[in-house]
């Protein structure tokens, strides 16, 4: 009588927990796989982009494209040199201002 009653309980708490654990494990594995795939795709995309950019940035030597790029780099470098110096020259142009200001504090007539 007692055994028959236990059999009638069917899907118990233990079975339910087991199902939850299995479903959770499957879901976790799925998420992990999807993330790995996305990461791999991103890396591939970046690699391809970099490769393409490198190819575009370095045309074959002995071509007009290479010479154009060369002269363009020379120009950019020169402009960069001038612009880098501009900040320092701007500071140099006002570097004596503090000395001029100091002359104005040669005396304090209130002390006389």
């Amino acid at each position: 009588m007692t055994r028959s009653r236990i059999d009638q309980q069917g899907f118990g708490v233990v079975e339910a927990l087991l199902v939850i654990v299995i479903v959770g494990a499957v879901a976790s594995i799925g998420v992990y796989v999807v993330r790995q795939k996305n990461h791999t795709d991103t890396l591939l995309t970046k690699t391809n982009t970099t490769s393409a950019a490198s190819t575009a940035a370095a045309p074959s030597a002995g071509t007009t494209a290479s010479i154009d790029q060369l002269t363009e780099q020379e120009t950019q470098t020169e402009v960069g040199v001038d612009h880098s110096a501009d900040a320092q020259i701007g500071q140099d142009a006002v570097s004596a201002n503090s000395a001029a200001t100091n002359v104005g504090s040669a005396y304090n007539e209130a002390n006389f």
């Binding site: 071509t63 007009t64 060369l70 002269t71 470098t77 001038d82 110096a85 142009a93 006002v94 004596a96």
Partner: protein
Amino acid sequence: MKRTSNFSHIVLAASSIVSVASLMVAPLSAAALATPKTNAATTSPFCSTNITADASTITSKMTTLSGKLSQAWSQQDQKLTTEWANVDQKVATDRQNANTELASNFTKLEAKATTTSEKQAVQTYEAAVNAAIATHRAAYDSARQTYRTAVQNAVDGRQTTVQGQLSTFQASADSAISTAEASCTSSPTSGPTIRETFVASLKTARVTFQGDRSGDTAIAGQVKQLAATRDAAFTTADQTFQASMASARQTLLQAFGSTSAKVS
């Protein structure tokens, strides 16, 4: 007894003479001592000692500070010269590297020319590129030199202006000192009034000079504007250069015709 009496009379007489003499000398001594004391009371401390010390302090300090200003100007000019020399050095290095790379490219380009017309086209292209680069560099050099000259002129102009303001400041301070000294000489008892005038004159001179300092920062804006003008000249030179390069390239590709891909 009689001798004793005579002696007493002698002592008494001598004492009387000394006493009378003392009474006569005392007023004279008192008068002699009183004279300097009366003068010290009437001559003000400002006129007796302060003006001399103040003048010395002002003159010394202004000499020191104006000397430092001259030194700062000298260093300023030196800094600009050094900075421009650095730019020249970097530009020269950049151009030298570009020349080396260009020569290497020209050699490889010449190797691709197989026919007489192609070889001639490469020579024409190289000459055009060299001319375009020379023109471009000359334009950059000119713009750069114009910028530097203008910056130096602005700095020199500012130094001249400040020097004038400094001279006025020093002259005003010197005038205040000499005026106070003259007033003290003519009227040594008027120290407080002379001092008030002296302090007011010094204050006016100082405030005027300090107010002039507001113009010192204007040069920063001028230098920026000059750099913008230089950059505009750079841009114009770039456009001319790119047009020349495009023309040279087009001529070369036309000469190579169907095989232009190997040189483009």
